[in-house]
């Protein structure tokens, strides 16, 4: 078990406090609302809060086991996300073996590369080698119907669910001068900011939301929620700079970038869901939908955060 530094303890304490306060608010709202539609919203809110407890406990355990725990947790997250993505993507009989490679060879290999800190191969395995392998394996079966479309969809799923997500635990492989052994704290900082941004955008949208940003894509996203949520999450990012290698201003800037990326992720995934005619990617997380619905912002935020830290804060 990893040495628990004070910053990590503070962050965990903060998360616990937020969860306790939300649970109390949820319970109070539950006993005060009257109308049926409000009851439905509050029931969903409480389901979300319960799921947050579970997710926070799982994530905490993973972080406490050090690098390997986080890698395994994100590996499984990728697996479940890819499963939801491929389930909703029309593929054909000829893709069966290709998809088997995706789940049981390429995905574990990507996380293995994170575990052994082989940065060079980690960056190109999926964009180069898997990119060339996937169409070849499908072509061997001789099924050419919608070939390019099928290949594009499989590669896209692999990029989003595996490649992008794997950049979050990849933070563990960075050597940041003056920040030795605290990479788990940085990973927690990233996930916390991105997820808080989602929650705050949702909350601001529910309380103040009027003008919709993209009504055809995601009816729940409003300008009020967007501005309010991202401003608050950026402020929290600045306040949490003590736990990072960043100064307060740098921390605010980085938080702003990953919040905007997270928003882009949510919007893009919504567009896919609308196109496929579904509301959620799955039913695995009560109140939230599928795993993919919960991590859409991480998918887009993780690679950018990883590269900012790697470029500016490592030698």
């Amino acid at each position: 078990m990893q040495f628990l530094d004070n910053d990590l303890k503070l962050l965990f304490g903060g998360i616990l406090a937020i969860l306790l306060v939300s649970s109390v608010i949820g319970a109070v709202l539950h006993s005060t609302v009257k109308t049926d539609s409000a009851k439905a919203v509050i029931a969903n809110l409480n389901a979300r809060i319960r799921a947050w407890w579970v997710m926070c406990v799982v994530f905490t355990i993973a972080l406490l086991t050090g690098g390997l725990g986080s890698i395994v947790l994100f590996g499984f997250t990728s697996f479940f996300a890819l499963r939801e993505f491929i389930t909703l993507t029309p593929t054909r009989r000829g893709d069966h073996r290709t998809l088997f490679w995706l789940f049981f060879v390429i995905l574990p290999l990507q996380y293995y590369l994170v575990a052994i800190s082989w940065y060079g191969m980690f960056t190109i395995l999926i964009p180069v080698y898997a990119f060339l392998f996937v169409p070849t394996r499908s072509a061997v079966t001789g099924d050419t119907d919608n070939f390019l479309e099928r290949t594009a969809k499989i590669q896209w799923g692999l990029m989003i669910c595996v490649y992008c997500v794997s950049h979050a635990p990849a933070l563990m492989m960075l050597d940041i001068p003056g920040y030795d052994g605290q990479n788990a704290t940085l990973l927690l900082y990233f996930v916390l900011i991105v997820q808080l941004s989602d929650v705050l955008q949702y909350t601001c949208g529910k309380l103040l939301g009027k003008r919709k940003i993209a009504p055809h894509v995601s009816p729940n996203k409003t300008w009020e929620g967007f501005v309010g949520g991202i401003t608050l999450a950026t402020g929290i990012g600045a306040a949490l700079h003590f736990a990072t290698p960043f100064t307060a201003w740098e921390s605010a800037g980085i938080a702003l970038v990953i919040n905007l990326m997270g928003f882009a992720g949510g919007l893009t995934m919504s567009a896919i869901k609308r196109d496929r005619g579904i509301k959620d990617f799955g039913t695995m997380i009560e109140g939230h939908g599928g795993v993919m619905d919960r991590i859409d912002s991480i998918c887009f935020g993780a690679p950018v955060f990883f590269h900012i830290v790697r470029f500016y804060y490592t030698d």
Partner: protein, 216 residues
């Protein structure tokens, strides 16, 4: 059913639900322990075990899958599973499969229908796949006459169309590697044989009841 068989049934069905992420969606009817005949599209070896797993336990206990004797009696293991765990109704396919249209074939088919009727008695439900064999998943094949004969004999029982979604992608015909995709088991609106309804018309109506669920 024996105690160990019952325990094995709980373990196997839970495992199936976890691994496949199978979701039971009761769209056209509610889960009831009343006698029913569940009939479904057939495209994978996993079909019957997943449909069976998707049923709530109290319904699963009184529901018997109809399966091919030649397959399930081929080894002692399969036989034990079929009899003790699934409580399957084993049917001889050899009469149905022969190409000759002799009186033997007719007799064999009627014997199978009688067996299914006897297996239901007054408390059991059945699971059957009226296509008779697995399709490639792209379309639902025409139904064999057994469903009609059964509906004629048991006019007092609801027939529940069940659409199995994505199973042919998890384990298609001729494949042995499983993909970890999510499947769903959709229960549709019950049908019964109507007064004076002809065999072909009934079978087509029963087939359409599954097809429409797949179209949505």
């Amino acid at each position: 059913m024996t105690m160990s068989g019952r325990a094995a049934a709980v373990v196997i069905s839970s495992l199936c639900r976890i691994v496949s992420g199978a979701r039971a969606q009761w769209i056209g009817c509610r889960p009831l322990t009343a006698q029913r005949i569940y009939y479904a599209n057939h495209s994978s070896h996993l079909d019957f075990i997943l449909l069976w797993s998707a049923l709530p336990q109290e319904i699963r206990c009184v529901t018997r899958p109809v399966a091919a004797r030649d397959y399930w009696e081929a080894t002692a293991w399969r036989r034990r599973l079929a009899v003790n765990v699934f409580n399957a109704v084993l049917i001889d396919r050899k009469f149905v499969r022969t190409t000759s249209v002799g009186s033997n074939r007719r007799k064999g088919i009627m014997k199978s229908i009688d067996d299914m009727g006897d297996a239901m008695a007054d408390s059991h439900s059945l699971i059957l796949f009226p296509e008779g064999t697995r399709g490639d998943g792209s379309r639902i094949g025409s139904f064999k006459g057994g469903l009609y004969e059964l509906a004629r004999r048991r006019g007092d029982v609801d027939l529940i169309p069940v659409f199995l979604e994505n199973l042919n992608r998890i384990l298609p015909k001729g494949e042995f590697l499983l993909l970890p995709l999510i499947c769903s088991v959709n229960f549709g609106t019950p049908i019964r044989l109507q007064n004076g309804e002809k065999k072909a018309a009934f079978l087509e109506r029963a087939r359409k009841a599954i097809v429409v669920m797949g179209a949505n």
